[in-house]
């Protein structure tokens, strides 16, 4: 099943719907034998009875055997609200080989939507942004929501610059209910600025996850000789020597990732680095773990 999560395989599938179904079914089948694990009301723990507790939750069978009074606790089954914030700036169209970062981000978003709506009965919404909000689909569980979301993803072609400030302010004005907010971006911005911009979402009680999408060449670039590099967003050009990419660049990228991770954790957000040649299950696993944590 692992091959269904391979980005190279998914790049050959044109329909996002099919990509999402393939990924999610493959992922779920890979977790355990039962695809329903974790999605129904289930036993969580025993707790000693204290006065004032509801007697309906006492496990009388256990009391009959042990003459001790314990409460049986279950995981609550509530519907959560998932909002994916997808960066559609020009830098997301970079690729050193299929898939593009944008496509990879689409696969993740589509898989999350499918998992949320089809398996979890959660409400799911999408916000596509660059330096402003390009499209916003409100979270909903209505029939046809999944199709709307997929259509939104299809239309999200990279363009313009990245600016997180405006879209996040916009989002805060729309969101009133707590839920899970997943930001998918390459985060070519100072970590301080990113966390500062996104942190207000967390303050409203949302679980925020940063999916940091990078191409392998952006993590470990290989230059055979000096090259002139062109910024996809600003069209700025500079000449770079191979020695730089082997040493300083890698240190800077590593520092950037580490800083972003630590600052995000510090602000109570989860952070996940996703390189486009890795399988998609890390992203799905992250979502499920958040979902099980109590949402």
């Amino acid at each position: 099943m692992q091959r269904f999560l391979d980005p190279n395989v998914l790049a050959g599938i044109s329909s996002l719907d099919l990509v999402a179904k393939t990924v999610v079914d493959g992922f779920v089948a890979g977790l355990h034998r039962s695809p329903d694990f974790g999605f129904s009301q289930e036993f969580a723990e025993y707790r000693a009875y204290t006065p004032g507790d509801d007697l309906r939750h006492v496990d009388w069978n256990l009391f009959a055997r042990t003459e001790r009074c314990y409460l049986k606790r279950y995981r609550g089954e509530t519907n959560s609200q998932l909002t994916v914030l997808l960066d559609a700036s020009n830098s997301m169209q970079y690729t050193s080989g299929p898939p593009r970062k944008m496509d990879y981000a689409r696969y993740i978003a589509a898989s999350l939507f499918y998992l949320a709506i089809h398996n979890q009965r959660d409400a799911a919404g999408l916000m596509v942004f660059d330096n402003e909000v390009r499209e916003y689909i409100k979270p909903s569980t209505r029939p046809g929501q999944l199709a709307r979301l997929f259509a939104g993803l299809e239309q999200a072609e990279p363009r313009a610059l990245t600016d997180l400030t405006k879209p996040f302010k916009h989002l805060q004005s729309y969101r009133h209910r707590r839920g899970i907010a997943i930001v998918i971006s390459d985060f070519f911005e100072e970590p301080e600025t990113i966390v500062h911009t996104i942190a207000p979402l967390r303050f409203h009680g949302n679980d925020v996850v940063l999916f940091h999408i990078l191409d392998p060449q952006e993590v470990l670039p290989v230059l055979n000789g000096s090259a002139i590099l062109v910024d996809l967003e600003t069209d700025r050009k500079i000449e770079v020597v191979p020695e730089y990419t082997k040493t300083t660049y890698r240190a800077k990228v590593d520092a950037h990732i580490e800083q972003l991770r630590s600052r995000a954790r510090g602000a109570g957000m989860d952070y996940q680095l996703l390189v486009t040649n890795q399988p998609l299950d890390n992203a799905l696993r992250e979502y499920l773990s958040l979902r099980q944590a109590g949402n």
Binding site: Y94, S226, L229, D231, T234, V240, E243, Y244, T248, Y249
Partner: protein, 681 residues
């Protein structure tokens, strides 16, 4: 190497073009998109590291192309030796015959040959040959001077006889494979006796230029030699006045009349000396009698005392074996005694005391052991006791010899013992009243050998044959035939031995051979041939062959033969000793041989006495042979150095060809490296 147009070398400055192209043009980098320049910093590579040659193979090809084109315009050339360019082969032939031992002839010839070799242009090919008893090709046509020098140095004076006819034949054979011109330098004493009987044998092919390098100057020095020695090879009675004597002929070549002392040396001791007057350039005979030698092999020598210009030929060696009279077994048919009488009389007359005849009737031969006899004679004895016949067959197989004479009794029995084939028919010429005569006689056959047979067929023409048996010849050698073609004398080899068959009888009923003088000579030679005594001692000439074993000997039963040459060395390798059938004696002196049948022999070997005549070829003959005109005499060529001119060979064509080749390779490489990939639709 040089350049015919060196000013074009200025074009080498164009070599900078590919260097500049590959250093400067290739560093232009293509713009490459990245998601963000956030983590990149501007950097410029240092000029030395940055300006590195790219596409090294392509650069090398372009560099070589420019270089070759410039070189082609400069027109390079190399200097080639003219002789080599014309493909002339220098053929050095050094005479190492016996006569070259006289004085310093051989040393001089070798020195001149080495000088000629050293003077040859380095690239010219040369070949070394030795003209001695056998024409020896020591090297192939090569230019390696060290190898040629070593081959020339390895030639040592020999004891053979030079023959310019052989040289002519060898060069004619060589010119069939070497089609270019050949310069033949012959370093020799140009002995007159080396000329073949026919001058045509010496003629060289058209592509051979003969340069004679005679080492003997002026007239030949006076030289005396022991020309021949007549001595018995086997001696049974030293007191026998007929056989116990040594007759030597002393000859002088270009000598004045003088008196010479000739000594007979036996086993290193002078036992007799005679003074003999030798006429001017003439011959004198000296005789030593009796010849008192001990039993066994005696190494004898007749020596002229007092030196001359060529001391090596002053002695002639021979070996004499003294033994008791050998017994001959004569088996005759019952009641037939005439043949024994005639045979014994002839044997006694020819070689008194050498053989003792034991005559027995066929039916009494049952218990006789043939191996105790020198040879056996079956005179009309075709019916033998089977035990004796078997013993006789074993005896022949091990090297014994048998003479079979078929008389009248043989007509009644078709089978001939030992011979292996049956009697076909009997020719009774007496009944027709017209007796047959002997038509053909092979005088090279040892039992019939005669030096000068004469018009009467060596005495055989008068012999009348009344009765002769006809039989299948098979592999036998026919030594004599009757006029109607019926074989009269046959020789067949069986194992190591021989069976000689006379198709008529040994008495005077079937022919009148016993009544003719030739019968005595025939019996004498047949007895010597069959007893093998001639093989075991006596003297031979250098380069003659000694038969070591029969050709029909089975391979599995090979026994070793031992040969010790005059220097005491064993010239045969172990494998040769087990397989060789004949051996060429190439050194003068005494050879000691142990044959396959276990019999020992000491054979004296003398150089051919033609070599003692040191008279050189006449000047006009030399000129005729070398095909020279008057202006190019042989004397003039002695000191003439071998021409070593050089000529220039232009390499323009080859350089251009190479440049073209490199240009094509460069195009292929360049299209591979620089080509624009096709857009996929």
């Amino acid at each position: 190497m040089g350049f015919l147009a060196p000013w074009f070398l200025g074009g080498l400055a164009a070599l900078g073009v590919p260097i500049l192209l590959h250093l400067l043009r290739q560093h232009r980098a293509k713009p490459r998109p990245v998601g963000s320049l956030m983590f990149f910093e501007r950097g410029t590579q240092s000029s030395t590291r940055y300006r590195r040659l790219r596409h090294l193979v392509l650069f090398a090809l372009r560099f070589a192309l420019v270089l070759l084109v410039v070189l082609a315009f400069a027109n390079p050339f190399v200097r080639h030796a003219a002789a080599d360019a014309k493909g002339r082969l220098l053929l050095i032939v050094l005479d190492n015959s016996f006569s070259m031992r006289a004085g310093t002839r051989f040393a001089d010839a070798k020195q001149q040959a080495l000088a000629a070799l050293a003077a040859k242009p380095h690239a010219q090919k040369a070949q070394i040959m030795a003209l001695g008893g056998q024409f020896g090709v020591l090297t192939q046509a090569i230019a390696d001077e060290a190898q040629l020098h070593a081959a020339l140095e390895s030639i040592q004076p020999g004891d053979g006889r030079a023959n310019f006819g052989e040289l002519g034949r060898a060069i004619r054979q060589l010119s069939e494979t070497v089609h270019g011109p050949i310069d033949l330098h012959l370093f020799s004493d140009m002995q007159r006796t080396a000329m073949p009987a026919n001058f045509a044998d010496m003629v060289l092919p058209n592509n051979v230029t003969l340069v004679l390098q005679p080492v003997a100057k002026g007239t030949a020095p006076p030289n005396w030699t022991v020309e021949s020695v007549d001595a018995p090879a086997v001696l049974s009675d030293p007191e026998d006045p007929k056989r116990s004597r040594v007759k030597a002929v002393v000859a002088g070549f270009g000598t004045p009349a003088t008196s010479k002392t000739v000594a007979l040396v036996v086993n290193g001791k002078v036992i007799a000396a005679r003074k003999v007057d030798v006429p001017a350039s003439g011959r004198a005979t000296v005789e030593f009698a009796p010849l008192n030698v001990g039993y066994g092999f005696n190494r004898c020598e007749v020596r002229i005392q007092g030196g001359d210009a060529f001391p090596a030929d002053d002695a002639s060696v021979f070996a004499v074996r003294r033994s008791d009279p050998e017994r001959v077994l004569f088996v005759h048919a019952a009641g037939e005694t005439r043949s024994a009488l005639y045979f014994a009389s002839a044997l006694e007359a020819a070689a008194p005391g050498s053989f003792v005849l034991q005559s027995v009737a066929a039916e009494q031969a049952r218990d006789l052991d043939p191996s105790k006899y020198a040879f056996a004679v079956l005179s009309d004895a075709v019916v033998l006791p089977s035990i004796f016949e078997h013993a006789l067959a074993q005896y022949v197989a091990k090297g014994g010899s048998v003479l079979i004479a078929l008389g009248t009794v043989a007509a009644h029995s078709a089978r001939i013992p030992l011979w292996g084939s049956d009697l076909k028919e009997v020719h009774e010429y007496a009944r027709t009243g017209n007796p047959a005569t002997v038509g053909q006689v092979d005088f090279s056959y040892p039992a019939l050998a005669q030096d000068q047979p004469g018009h009467d067929n060596g005495g055989w023409a008068d012999v009348k044959i009344f009765y002769a048996a006809a039989l299948d010849v098979g592999p036998a050698r026919v030594a004599a035939r009757l006029v109607d073609g019926t074989p009269l004398l046959l020789d067949k080899q069986l194992g190591e031995g021989h069976v000689v068959l006379l198709a008529s009888g040994l008495e005077n009923l079937t022919n009148d051979l016993p009544l003719h003088p030739v019968f005595v000579a025939f019996v004498d030679r047949t007895a010597r041939y069959l007893s093998g005594s001639e093989r075991l001692s006596g003297s031979r000439l250098v380069d003659s062959f000694v038969q070591l074993r029969s050709a029909t000997e089975p391979g599995g039963a090979a026994t070793s033969i031992e040969v010790i040459d005059p220097e005491g060395r064993r010239p045969l390798s172990l494998s040769e000793a087990r397989t060789m059938q004949s051996f060429r004696v190439e050194r003068a002196g005494f050879y000691q041989i142990r044959f396959a049948n276990g019999r020992d022999a000491v054979i004296a070997v003398n150089p051919d006495r033609h070599e003692s005549d040191l008279e050189p070829l006449a000047e006009d003959v030399q000129l005729l042979w070398s095909g020279s005109s008057v202006s190019r005499g042989s004397q003039a060529t002695v000191a003439a150095p071998i021409e070593s001119t050089y000529r220039s060979v232009s390499l323009w064509w080859y350089v251009m060809l190479l440049a073209l080749l490199i240009a094509m390779v460069e195009m292929i490489f360049a299209s591979g490296h620089m080509g624009t990939p096709r857009e996929e639709v």
